[in-house]
């Protein structure tokens, strides 16, 4: 029995993570073999992940704490620090 595009897209995350049972995986791949639209969807889903990571990836941002914030953090700690 074929699964529908809707069912395929519902289970896409499980398919990608290898969490689908063997029988489900076969049905999933049978659908992909005859449905270029779902192949496109899968490809674009993968691309979405990649574009998302690249758009906000941590290394893309300057990483420095403003000196006044460093001072505020240390002052807050000294004010709150319990005696050793």
């Amino acid at each position: 029995m074929f699964i529908t595009c809707e069912e395929l897209i519902d289970f896409l995350a499980d398919y990608r993570s290898g969490a689908l049972a063997a029988a489900q995986r076969v049905r999933f791949e049978e659908h992909l073999a005859v449905c270029p639209g779902c192949v496109d969807y899968l490809d674009s889903y993968e691309m979405t992940l990649r574009l998302g990571r690249e758009a906000v990836r941590p290394s893309a941002e300057p990483a420095e704490v403003p000196p006044e914030l460093v001072r505020a953090i240390l002052a807050a700690w000294r004010g709150a620090a319990p005696p050793l």
């Binding site: 674009s44 906000v56 941590p58 704490v65």
Partner: protein
């Protein structure tokens, strides 16, 4: 005691830094903030999108880290431990903010007809959109689209796909179960894909059999 963060604090390797922190060495606190604070502030900025809230969250994160440094066992890198603390401080700040009503995620998910075929399934994407679009424009489009996601879903997407938390870590940070994280993540990715879809090019139709 070093009151001036611009001053040069001794730069110790990680294990010596942790020992110095446990011993209450003030220079070690300065080094920790200066050496590790930047990436932690960036995490808070990504999650909170508000500079004042991000700075508050960073302060909360360091106070929490300083208090619990004795419990740091070294099973993970210090940077990873601090990253998780920064994530949790930012999420705490996010929860404390006044919540605005969220757009229902369903409005951003793909639509299907009665036989399970995707409506508007005509467009296929170029193999590598970064080659066909201006890189800076595409990046901005994607970042803006992520910002259009309802906050609940945007947060899960950032935690899992950007900050690198696994399902269990994200679930613990958010106070939900792993299955909820899994469902929200899939919906967030689907919604982001739908938001990007009109900006991509090409067409191809779905020709799968209808549901029997």
């Amino acid at each position: 005691m070093d009151d001036a963060p611009e001053a040069t604090a001794p730069h110790r390797p990680e294990s010596a830094l942790v020992e110095a922190l446990r011993a209450g060495d003030d220079d070690a606190y300065v080094q920790l903030v200066r050496q590790y604070g930047g990436p932690m502030l960036a995490v808070a900025r990504r999650l909170l999108r508000n500079e004042a809230d991000a700075q508050d969250a960073l302060q909360d994160a360091f106070l929490s880290a300083f208090k619990s440094i004795r419990g740091f066992q070294g099973q993970s890198q210090l940077s990873t431990w601090l990253h998780r603390i920064a994530v949790n401080a930012a999420l705490m700040k996010q929860r404390a903010r006044t919540r605005r009503p969220e757009q229902p995620i369903e409005e951003l998910l793909p639509a299907f007809d009665g036989s399970g075929h995707r409506r508007n399934s005509g467009a296929s994407w170029p193999e590598d959109p970064t080659r066909t679009a201006e890189a800076g424009e595409l990046k901005k489009l994607v970042a803006d689209s992520i910002d259009r996601l309802p906050e609940t879903y945007r947060t899960v997407l950032l935690l899992r796909d950007v900050e690198g938390l696994d399902g269990a870590e994200a679930a613990a940070s958010l106070g939900v179960n792993e299955n909820t994280v899994k469902i929200r993540l899939h919906r967030a990715r689907q919604a982001l894909r739908e938001l990007l879809d009109p900006h991509m090019q090409g067409t191809r139709a779905c020709s799968s059999p209808a549901k029997s």
